[in-house]
């Protein structure tokens, strides 16, 4: 790239005043890089009493691949969250023949580390999220009563072993079964950590080098430096767990997707949220601080979507919430030019065209591929 003179001056000042070695990492850079790895244990799931029980995870694994929880008997979680594709489906948006979705299928790897779920954060736990696709008419298209019936027919004993006698065996409270299915699905997802990567080995070995090519190292330097990717892709998940507006083109329908503006409202009235009757531990309003302090009218929510993790990003194409970009190259070109404008909401002010040369974009992409899952 050709940095503007001011930036050159800034970097020179930095090198001089902060004692950087041009061929190595400064103390601040090291601190920043180390903030991205390793991945800590997942935070607890306070509203799911079976979240960390192996029996629940095993049951969740069975249900994850059971197409019996769908209207056509052919759709399971694994239909779109394919284990052989990093738990994504490789499609722009899923189309199961019941009306195409509007958003790209996200991976479930690392879901346990999330705060908000779905691209718009309309669920506040992984178990609440798991109930959504079951009911979505474009996805499983089932309902609570059918879920309850399936549980009673196929899973009653193991579910009662986990949760006690089903209070509504006659199906008078089917939402309970729906919530419980969500909870065992979350228990299974908690066994799916974000991918371990060569980047993690590189960070663990610092300040020794050798695991990265010069191009990958340069990509990392750009990632935390001039490209400022780390402004949003930060922390061990390479995601700030927040929501931002990029100003992507309108979807084919021509109707802007409200994104977080709707998700923030929806999560507050979700019957499966932290305040709901199906949340374990009876946290009540005072025990659900994320909901309590959430501001659904935050002016930057329109058309904002959750920052995705970059762990394993090379395996989760296509990209963006609408799956509109087929490759990492395309994504980086978008950030390089930032064409268009936000149709609703407003693009993050700090998001400016990178205006990098091809070699720098290639270096960034090479660095991103160090996040590929290792066996």
């Amino acid at each position: 790239m050709n940095p503007p003179p001011l930036r050159v001056a800034g970097v020179l000042l930095l090198l001089g005043a902060a004692g950087c070695r041009p061929e190595g990492w400064s103390a601040e850079e090291l601190r920043l890089i180390r903030s991205l790895s390793p991945v800590p244990p997942p935070p607890p799931s306070p509203t799911n009493g079976v979240a960390d029980l192996p029996e629940a995870a095993a049951l969740g694994a069975r249900i994850f691949t059971d197409p019996g929880f769908s209207i056509d008997g052919q759709t399971s979680c694994a239909t779109c969250h394919r284990p052989d594709r990093a738990f994504t489906d490789g499609q722009r948006v899923a189309d199961l023949g019941r009306g195409a979705g509007t958003r790209n299928v996200p991976t479930v790897l690392g879901a346990a580390w999330g705060t908000w779920f779905f691209w718009d954060g309309r669920a506040d736990s992984a178990w609440a999220q798991a109930t959504g696709p079951l009911l979505n008419p474009s996805e499983h298209a089932t309902d609570a009563a059918a879920v309850h019936a399936r549980v009673m027919a196929e899973y009653r004993a193991p579910m009662e072993a986990l949760f006690g006698p089903l209070s509504g065996p006659a199906g008078d409270r089917p939402e309970q079964s729906l919530a419980q299915v969500g909870k065992v699905l979350e228990a299974f997802e908690r066994t799916l950590p974000p991918p371990s990567t060569r980047f993690d080995r590189y960070v663990a070995a610092l300040p020794a080098g050798g695991l990265f090519s010069p191009e990958e190292e340069r990509g990392l330097r750009l990632f935390i430096g001039d490209a400022q990717c780390v402004s949003c892709h930060n922390g061990p998940l390479l995601s700030d767990r927040s929501f931002h507006t990029l100003g992507l083109p309108l979807p084919p329908t021509g109707q802007p997707d409200p994104g977080r503006a709707r998700g923030a409202t929806d999560v507050l009235r979700d019957p499966f949220n932290c305040r709901g009757e199906w949340a374990d531990g009876a946290p009540g309003p005072q025990g659900c601080p994320e909901l309590r302090y959430l501001d659904p009218s935050f002016p930057d929510w329109p058309a904002a979507f959750k920052t995705p993790s970059l762990r394993g990003v090379g395996q989760t194409a296509p990209y963006m919430h609408d799956g509109s970009m087929a490759s990492l190259t395309e994504v980086l070109l978008f950030y390089n030019r930032l064409p268009g404008r936000a149709e609703i909401g407003h693009r993050e002010l700090t998001l400016q065209p990178l205006r990098f040369q091809e070699a720098d974009l290639a270096a960034l992409e090479a660095f991103l591929r160090t996040m590929d899952a290792e066996p």
Binding site: A17, E29, S231, L349
Partner: protein
């Protein structure tokens, strides 16, 4: 001097990454010096920092309840004293934060701890201690933390800069 150096280091770090640097306290000027600082003060993680409000009506000591992690909720604790140094127990301190370079504030609605209340209308804050819950910094960079104070000497405000 220590504070100035820390701020300088942060500016340098900001050129590189704008993340993960908190500056040290700049002590308020002695009584009688011209205008007290309203900015340039940052809260080091869980360490107390001190501010003088714009019109010198109050002194504020403040800290975060825990080291600030981006995207995690935290509280801001304040100790409010009058110009005479006596704790202000019957006041109000509302804390907010904005990112001036981004044009937005926090995506949460923080709430002030009501204090010790005999009735909802008669709350006090023993030893001048106040707390604002539900703060969250969801992006790295420079946050301007504002303190809106009400008390026996009237309203006043102060600002601090926090770099995350």
């Amino acid at each position: 001097m220590r504070g100035a150096r820390a701020v300088h280091a942060c500016v340098l770090a900001g050129m590189l990454a704008q993340i993960g640097c908190t500056a040290e306290t700049v002590a308020p000027p002695p009584e009688g010096d011209a205008p007290p600082p309203q900015e340039g003060v940052a809260g080091a993680d869980t360490a107390w920092s001190e501010l003088v409000t714009k019109n010198r009506k109050y002194r504020i000591r403040w800290r975060t309840s825990k080291p600030v992690v981006m995207g995690d909720l935290f509280s801001v604790e304040t100790v409010l004293t009058g110009a005479d140094g006596a704790p202000v127990t019957g006041g109000q301190v509302r804390v907010d934060a904005r990112m001036p370079q981004h044009g937005h504030g926090m995506a949460t609605k923080p709430e002030a701890d009501p204090g010790v209340c005999a009735t909802p209308d008669t709350c006090t804050h023993p030893e001048g201690r106040y707390r604002m819950d539900g703060m969250k910094f969801h992006m790295p960079g420079e946050w301007t933390v504002t303190f809106e104070v009400d008390g026996p000497a009237g309203s006043d405000r102060a600002e601090a800069v926090y770099r995350l």
